[in-house]
Symmetry: C2
Subunit: 391 residues, 2 copies
């Protein structure tokens, strides 16, 4: 093994402008926080940082839930955490499915032994509360699952009306807030959400690797009343909570440096103010929409159901979808996202998330997109920058 | 929510000398790698980095296994990955238990629906191949699990003889290499290991957050032949492998910046050379042992079964165990570990791992320990530094 001549060079990642569905651009102070000296997972200084993270997360998630902390995995591990802890084999689970992440919840819930009923809806549209009611057909359910911000389509789902549906079915309410948190308002307590998960790499503008979760007192009760152990040891909240809680019982070695990054990212959110941050996302999203439409492009989601932080744009006839993304990356260093599932090849997904939601990026994105579309002979309809500036 | 006056200050973690059971001290270039600009998980530059990580990991793990990559969670997620992918409900699993991590494997395997038989051994001693044979009682098993380097006790387990036992039982061989990898030789192919997992925060000297795993062709075959889906979606290797393999199918958003860190940590291992690195760990471990014994302290594990990177030291009668650790941390900024399970309060665990395995740290640790023990009236027997220097 000695004398390996073939050691790769140190990485020199390019500096991109990340305007896809995540990861989003990360603030310099968050990147620098990642590089702070590693300490032990039971170091008094780290335990204090954990408490600050929990406190800031509660504010950002709009909750007083005691059980609120980041799981040591990416957003999908947060989805799995919520489902493995709340579901026991044979439980009946109702899942809204209008994109990749609803589809994924069905898969994960089935692996937990749930009897899953999907509320199927059109991709690119929100689901009505009535659709949930009809699918439930008056039968009882243990859990109702919905995606607040569908990352695969850019659709915003209203959550409060689903609380009422869940109550009628006797169900707890589980919500995916991966792409919404810190970009559009998330008010877990006000909305009566029982369990929620998010990711760090969207509007929190922290690199991927952690998944904030929150459980209401009712969800905790459900967890405590389980008859069978949670099927995942790694994601078992009865164990993880003993480390994040006052007991400080070792469970796994926390990802120290990633948590430094999250601490700084949450600090930046609170320094800006949640209302101001959401207003900024709305403003830049609307400017982007106006610009895209001025260009002659069609947005895939009706305005009332559209997320300001993630916009799905239809690929015009005759345009090579992948070439546009490649040209943006190679000539401008801009990343935008492709469509997923049934929308593959049919849309682009443009994200303006967290630190990336700026007027500068709106302008850059519209200008660069105009240029690469013109390269393919697309006839631009109007002036996107004037339209964006007019919002 | 606006105008929160109570935003915490930016973190200022203290600079520690991490001489516990992990996390270990991280090289400056690894910390700096974490802070490099985040790119997308399908960015061509990142895909190239992933390939380099896989190639370097194979070298460090002593394997040509195609299915070799880091999972997006800490070491315990690697344990769970191996078990959930290899076990189907009702499978018979034989687990060596002489510490916390064998105990944990029993728990995780049972959550997978396995019929588990534990091979119980004394904490602080290795298990003999005969102990596995006797526990198996000639019955067939699907999986034999052992811990190569027991982080809770500092015991080194010989793996090659267990291959023979596994063959006789018809079992695949799963090995925990969390604390061994890149500190003592790990030769998966030579030893005939079918599945292994590790962590980044031990002898790889990368912050915690990733878990390298490797599956042999036979283990992959077992995975493909499953009759039931893997119970964890997040850790399902049939899905994760499609992202790390040439297909590049999106599964979850990889923890980009943590992977930058691992890339740099692996580079440093290969630049040093695996043999040289293991020799360094041996040399510094032996120097520490000589110094501790010169002080008049007793080591908990017989020399032939002792890990050079992690040494369990018995707490002498009349000494306040927790006060020693607190004094080391507060007066010297040195972290050492407490005992776990039945060894709680009875031992300290001193790690010399990765970048932390230096003659400087041996000297510092022995001097500081002498000082805090003397503060409690412990009669030092001899000169630890002279003894360490004589090794």
């Amino acid at each position: 093994m000695t004398g390996m001549t073939d050691v790769p060079a140190p990485l020199l990642p390019p500096t991109r402008t990340l305007l896809g569905p995540g990861p989003s651009d990360v603030s310099p102070s968050v990147l620098q926080a990642l590089a702070k000296p590693t300490v032990g997972h039971l170091d008094p200084s780290f335990l204090a940082a954990m408490d600050e993270i929990r406190r800031m997360l509660r504010t950002v998630m709009g909750t007083r839930n005691e059980l609120t902390f980041p799981m040591s995995g990416t957003g999908s591990s947060g989805m799995e955490t919520c489902l493995v802890n709340l579901i026991e084999p044979g439980d009946r689970v109702l899942v809204g499915v209008n994109g990749v992440f609803g589809t994924r919840m069905v898969d994960v819930a089935e692996r937990c032994g749930a009897e899953v009923r999907a509320v199927e809806g059109e991709w690119g549209r929100a689901l009505s509360p009535e659709a949930f009611r009809e699918a439930a057909a008056g039968e009882p359910f243990a859990l109702l699952c919905a995606v607040h911000a569908e990352t695969s389509t850019g659709v915003s789902q209203q959550i409060p009306p689903l609380r009422e549906v869940a109550d009628d079915l006797g169900a707890l309410l589980l919500v995916d807030c991966v792409t919404s948190l810190a970009g559009t308002p998330v008010e877990l307590d006000l909305w009566g959400v029982d369990a929620a998960y998010s990711g760090t790499q969207k509007c929190l503008s922290c690199p991927p690797g952690l998944s904030p979760i929150s459980f209401s007192a009712r969800a905790e009760e459900r967890l405590r009343a389980r008859s069978k152990k949670v099927q995942s040891w790694y994601l078992d909240l009865t164990l993880v909570a003993s480390y994040w809680g006052s007991e400080r019982v070792y469970h796994h070695t926390a990802p120290i440096n990633m948590l430094y990054g999250l601490h700084e990212a949450l600090r930046l959110v609170l320094e800006e103010g949640l209302e101001e941050r959401c207003a900024r996302h709305r403003q830049n999203g609307r400017a982007l929409w106006a610009g895209l439409e001025a260009l002659g492009l069609e947005l895939a989601v009706p305005e009332a159901e559209r997320l300001p932080q993630l916009t799905a744009v239809r690929v015009p006839d005759g345009i090579d979808e992948a070439r546009v993304r490649r040209d943006l990356l190679e000539a401008f260093g801009i990343e935008i996202g492709a469509g997923l599932g049934p929308m593959r090849g049919q849309v682009w997904r443009i994200g303006l998330m967290g630190a990336g939601s700026t007027r500068k990026n709106v302008t850059l994105c519209l200008s660069a997109l105009s240029s690469v579309l013109a390269d393919q002979g697309f006839a631009l309809r109007g002036d996107p920058l004037a339209a964006a500036a007019g919002v």
